[in-house]
Symmetry: D2
Subunit: 364 residues, 4 copies
């Protein structure tokens, strides 16, 4: 193999170069970020940190990257990181909060894939994450990184909080109904399921293949951390005067690697005068590069977005009764995490939004 | 290997002998029936028919049965079948209707695993199954084979219609709420998922491993044939005067072999005065050998019932809001089909209900 | 659910009662042992120990056992264990050696599923397991628990060392060729593959479903601990004067839960005068209850033995050239571990060998 | 979604444009070809044919292609096809032979992914494929499309026969040993395993997920069609005077979607004087863009090449005995079929060989 030969081919191309750092690149969102960044024509990946794996070549941990990079994990160094144009945090929650302030003060832009800045309310955050928030003073600066609702704010943001995987799928599914006040806000149900990469790369018995394969179960049905995030976003997008949404959210663990499927249910407020909801969705997402409203009667499949920064949505009204069903799928590691992070980067740096993300999903 | 040596070991034991025939034993419910019947201590399996495979040794089609039987598939012969005490039909819908009448007239008892006699209303059946019902005159005789609601009627029945797999899981999950009129009847949602054996053993492209594995999708969300069955059963068990239930039912295809998981949602009618629903479920199923109400806060897993005639149920009330969530799991081929059929046989013939069904689920 | 009701059904039946203890029952061979022992008609399971889980109800760790036992894990107590007729050790290697001597001195019979007593040579053991053997003085007492070669010795043994999973599959495949000196002893190749339960229930990153599913790889190809065991057994069964076998053994990790498949290759010594090897295998295993020689041209599937104490074997001679191929499959947890352990117990206690093991494999 | 927006981004770029047609694009190698061709910066995909699906939009059959193409399957039309610079045949064997001659006569270049022109000997072909060869007169023209041995001939070829998937993996693993006459030619063993996409997209019962998942088996062990192809290639690359290789080839079916793993065994001819084989392999493949010799002691994983045109190889000599083990992995649909086809196209048209193929494998 000619080391790195292939990587260089595409890396060129005109346009500005964005100097990028990654903090905490050993997990699954980390390797997914690397997959995307190493082929992004305007990115120069300068540093990737990991306390646990410092000194290890990235390609020794992730053999799929052999030939594409000769980077080595290093200890996080604020000086080095602050010389980047943008630093991605692909860390567990709680870690961002300690490393972040010096970088923000140095003017570095941050794209945070962790949960640290998704909730605006520090107390709500503390309640769901079981610890006090480490730097609540930066919460007001954070912009929720969902391009489909926040594109303008993202352009100028210094600190972008990337949405969670379940929230991405659920919110894209339900937003058009809420924005137009078409459903009872207390009736919302999100019955969603995730592949095992959603649990990260930690060694846990219940994520062993012998435990998780050929099996299906709900988990955290009494309260998952993505619930307050979903409710916050949906409430933000309700028209004035609407009573605030309440969501019943039940996540499930799928015996597969990648993908989230959200089956969402909402009761029509005024079933007889419901507009054409298929048309409503088509229009709402007509200009969105990464939301695909499927033809009437379709059922989106998780594999149709594998490895791609895409959300596919189908809208149904079974038996023409009062309950509307919206189905959505994403790849939890791509549109649900690292792909959306790169999409945010493109927006922040004025690069064409689909750059580096125009990937054909891998099927079969 | 000593042919059949092991099978004989357990076959003896006291008690009556039930002469059994199976029509259509080549599908997955067929081989599951054989697995159970060949080890049932009071069953003498006399004949198994298949037009397509007549002449083939059963163990040549299903290598797991090598050493347990030397039966060969034969053409269905009403004379031979009518000499059995009971005949199981493990056939696609529509087939039962043509073979059944002569057997019923001969006094043979029938346990039908197909959909032919599940709906009482021939017109409703025709509407959902796309053909006229072949012997509507026998519909009034059919007893719906759900022991948990119909045990007494099953004892005397000549014709038992075994419930569908989704209906078994959904009904056991929701019955206690409906029987006690605790929830809004129009609010019911059944978000359920099935392993691929639910689609049978037909060669279909979308059931290929290359299509169905590492994937998840909803299907038939606009109307699945199990919907009217679920509504019929739940309505039968509502108290007088309650408005009839309406169910939104979305089935999904799981990348696994066996198992159904139903996540059901219902809105409390009178949330402030809701009784202790965990206690309600424990009492409702206290005497049921094959329904297991799990401890508070549990999430049942499909693998915990693999190969066993068991339904495990958990009841939750997330955030103590008004929506109740009931989770249930079954093995679609066992409690969802062939195991329940054997349970019905035991009830019909006065045999201890768990005979031949006291199987430890295979885990991991 | 009626607690334990079903378990009692079968537990009775005539014959002696064997009092059984299990040390280290929390792993996969542990739960598989419980599945078998709890339904064994002549076993009274008295105690199951686990230092890590002492105090936990067995059914809380393994939900498939709900309703079948109310045993709780306890600290290992030599006094309690020595009151059993037989104690199974389902522990990692090295543990047996410390707990075993007092039990052996008390006259308790031991069935050891660990690797501690499989190799007769303490130095060879130390070399492969990276530690000194803890009680080499008991090595001469240990009987290798492979009924197909050692049945008579097992009957009288106080200490039985159950074969490893790969060795069981490989040895049953190759024994008839070696016993009859039909192949070049240095030409043996065992290309084998195991489901992930072979790696046990420890939390390891490379056994996560996100790592091990949709993937295949060899491992330990430069030297796996089962290699000296395979060579020892095969050499024991060569005729006098034959040059000792040398095996090239490459294990692989399969993206499935249970099952071992061994593809073994050997070069005929005298290809022109090779006897009918299909007939040779049929005769060699004619009286073995748990070895099934498949029809000519068959390919055994791992799923055909899922959950069952069975080894299926096919013999081929591709292109009628000089290389013989023998394929064998077992369930690594059953015939490859706990089922074989129960088979050994039956032999030791004069119980019909198939008692408690006449299980139809779960297919599909 | 903005239809096709993303596709256009990359399609530009300088350099010549290759007009491409695809015959038979509905199978798995077809959709894989489309995935690669639609993103190839120098390809203009003009036509894709399918008799069965004529009139259907490609993106309706393969939802992963939504937004990347608005092509529709058409009936194969020799006129339209002959206007292409190159036509790929992704058809079952036997089909190429009838459509090919008019295109060849028109001067169109052909890359055939079927088996029709892989064997030089029409009689050998007929014997293994069970039918007479349809156009043996073109066999002498066909160049075997393995760049690692035939690059120069491919440049000029009008008709390239792409290697089979197993042969690609086996040949790359064994070639350096054979080229240097280091091993006994009759001792070669290829124990290989393929994901289910290797069987194509035909609806067959034994490829259903319920049959093929959680299972492993050998198949066609008595003679697989890839055997003569492997032997032909290896013999072509032996030094003059060496006795011709004989391969024992046993393929297995893996419960996963993509990937081939070959475990190959060969006996050293002169074990004491064996050169450093790791070094030998490193040098042999030093200039190959798509062969990666892994570090000593590695075990390549199929997932490390998922979706990529890469072969990773490890060389071992267990126990320093005389049997050499070489492990190789490819993605059967990419380096084993469509990726290699595109690599051949690049060579034929003087385009940088890695163009359109510099894809990071999708992991996890």
């Amino acid at each position: 193999m000619i080391l790195s030969c292939t990587a260089k081919l595409v890396r060129k191309g005109g346009g500005k170069v964005i100097k990028v750092g990654v903090v905490g690149g050993t997990g699954y969102t980390g390797v997914e970020l690397l997959r995307l960044l190493l082929k992004h024509p305007q990115v120069e990946l300068r540093v990737i940190t990991s306390r646990a794996e410092a000194g290890l070549a990235v390609a020794d941990l992730y053999p799929n990257l052999r030939g594409f990079t000769d980077l080595t994990f290093t200890e996080p160094d604020p000086q080095v990181l602050s010389e980047c144009d943008v630093v991605f945090f692909a860390t567990p929650h709680g870690v961002t909060q300690s490393l972040l302030p010096p970088l923000l003060q140095a003017g570095t832009r941050i794209i945070d894939l962790s949960a640290d800045f998704r909730l605006r309310d520090a107390e709500l955050w503390a309640q769901w994450y079981g610890q006090a928030h480490g730097c609540p003073e930066w919460l007001p600066q954070a912009v929720y990184g969902m391009p489909e609702t926040n594109r303008e704010a993202i352009k100028e943001a210094q600190l972008v909080a990337c949405p969670g995987c379940y929230p991405t799928a659920a919110q894209l599914a339900l937003l058009p109904l809420l924005e137009n006040n078409l459903v009872e806000p207390e009736s919302l149900i999100v019955s969603a399921a995730s592949g095992v990469t959603g649990a990260g790369r930690q060694a846990k018995v219940d994520m062993l293949m012998a435990e998780a394969s050929d099996n299906f179960k709900a988990y955290a049905a009494n309260g998952h951390r993505h619930l307050p995030e979903i409710e916050q976003t949906l409430r933000d997008n309700q028209p004035a005067g609407a009573s605030p949404v309440q969501v019943t959210f039940v996540p499930h663990l799928l015996p597969m690697i990648r993908g989230i499927h959200a089956t969402t249910y909402a009761r029509a407020l005024n079933a007889e005068r419901l507009p054409d909801i298929q048309e409503l969705y088509l229009q709402r997402y007509a200009d969105e590069p990464f939301v695909d409203v499927m033809p009437l009667g379709s059922h989106p499949q998780t594999r149709s977005v594998k490895g791609a920064n895409m959300c596919r949505i189908s809208v149904l009204r079974p038996q023409m009764r009062d309950t509307i069903v919206v189905l959505s799928v994403i790849d939890n590691l791509t549109k649900g995490a690292s792909g959306q992070a790169v999409q945010n980067m493109n927006i922040m740096f004025g690069v064409e939004e689909a750059t580096g993300l125009d990937i054909v999903p891998l099927l079969p």
